[in-house]
């Protein structure tokens, strides 16, 4: 029988390790995939996902179940970690954000990428984040707005631009 998530969170706050393990099993895969789509580096994404799960244990008292879903809270932590890492890389590589393209380190992920993956990675970070959270992570526009600390309108505007940019890029690739 699956224990209700609110009950698991309550148990976690009491330091119950079994509840913690159950929550990790439920949330780690989504956070790992999210980080992979944002940082485009599998090993790094796995580190980020595990960091987020450590935060879940250490700061579960900060999570308010009346204010947000646990997945939204975890995605927000993951989002902040990803942004920190991307900005650090930006400094290290001397990458100019106005070019709206990330230095895609191909050696990081030696796997065959679909044209859509390349196009996604070439989107500006905020557009990619909005699209990934909405389309792949199935979060609502309000949740995405909360994670990105933006208004719902701003998120929608990012989504429209992201989809428009993807179409243009894919047309060029053809």
């Amino acid at each position: 029988m699956q224990v209700d998530q609110a009950r698991l969170v309550a148990l976690l706050r009491e330091g119950n390790q079994r509840a913690y393990s159950e929550l990790v099993v439920r949330h780690l895969p989504a956070i790992e995939v999210y980080a992979k789509r944002i940082v485009n580096d599998d090993a790094l994404a796995q580190d980020i996902a595990q960091d987020v799960m450590v935060v879940l244990w250490q700061r579960s008292a900060d999570f308010n179940p009346n204010k947000a879903r646990l997945t939204t809270w975890l995605h927000r932590i993951a989002h902040n970690r990803c942004i920190d890492i991307l900005r650090k890389r930006q400094r290290e590589f001397g990458w100019d954000p106005s070019e709206s393209k990330y230095p895609v380190a191909e050696s990081d992920t030696p796997r065959e990428q679909q044209p859509i993956d390349t196009a996604l990675m070439r989107l500006p970070e905020s557009q990619r984040t909005a699209l990934v959270l909405t389309y792949y992570q199935n979060l609502s526009n309000r949740e995405v707005a909360e994670i990105m600390n933006l208004s719902v309108r701003a998120v929608e505007s990012l989504l429209v631009r992201a989809r428009g940019n993807l179409k243009k890029q894919l047309e060029t690739q053809e």
Partner: protein, 146 residues
């Protein structure tokens, strides 16, 4: 702009932002967007374009490869070791607290309080002399009086 035109524009915006899948549209706007779809060729055309992009987005496959159960166990084990350390520290503090509850610390506390009070009074009453020429004059006056 009349209400129909407004709904029509909004339906286009919704589809352009969230794609062709109805389940991805904001719940509160789903019915109005469907209505606009039925009544407008332009909206249907945009839906078709976005459906093509959706099918391309589906080709991007990223999968989770971490073993969640194992990760949970590893983190829990690591954190329980931290817990043991914090428990040890807690135990250390308990020992200090227990020793404070006995009588031997009272003279030590009295002495340290006196010392602290002395330092506090000294640091507030003492005013450093900024103008040393006046200080010299004062000392001469005192000598002259003798």
């Amino acid at each position: 702009m009349n209400p129909d035109e407004k709904n029509h524009r909004r339906a286009i915006d919704v589809i352009a932002a969230y794609g062709a899948e109805q389940s991805a549209w904001p719940e509160a706007e789903r019915a109005a967007t469907l209505d606009a779809l039925q009544s407008s060729y332009e909206v249907r055309q945009i839906l078709r374009e976005e459906a093509s992009l959706d099918s391309l987005l589906q080709q991007s496959a990223r999968v989770a490869t971490l073993n969640a159960t194992q990760v949970a166990q590893q983190i829990a084990r690591g954190l329980s070791q931290q817990l043991t350390l914090s428990q040890r520290l807690g135990r250390g503090l308990e020992v200090v607290a227990e020793s404070l509850s006995s009588d031997f610390w009272k003279p030590t506390l009295a002495a340290s309080l006196t010392l602290s009070a002395g330092i506090a009074v000294g640091s507030t009453v003492y005013e450093p002399v900024e103008d040393w020429s006046q200080a010299e004059q004062y000392s001469f006056t005192v000598v002259g009086e003798e």
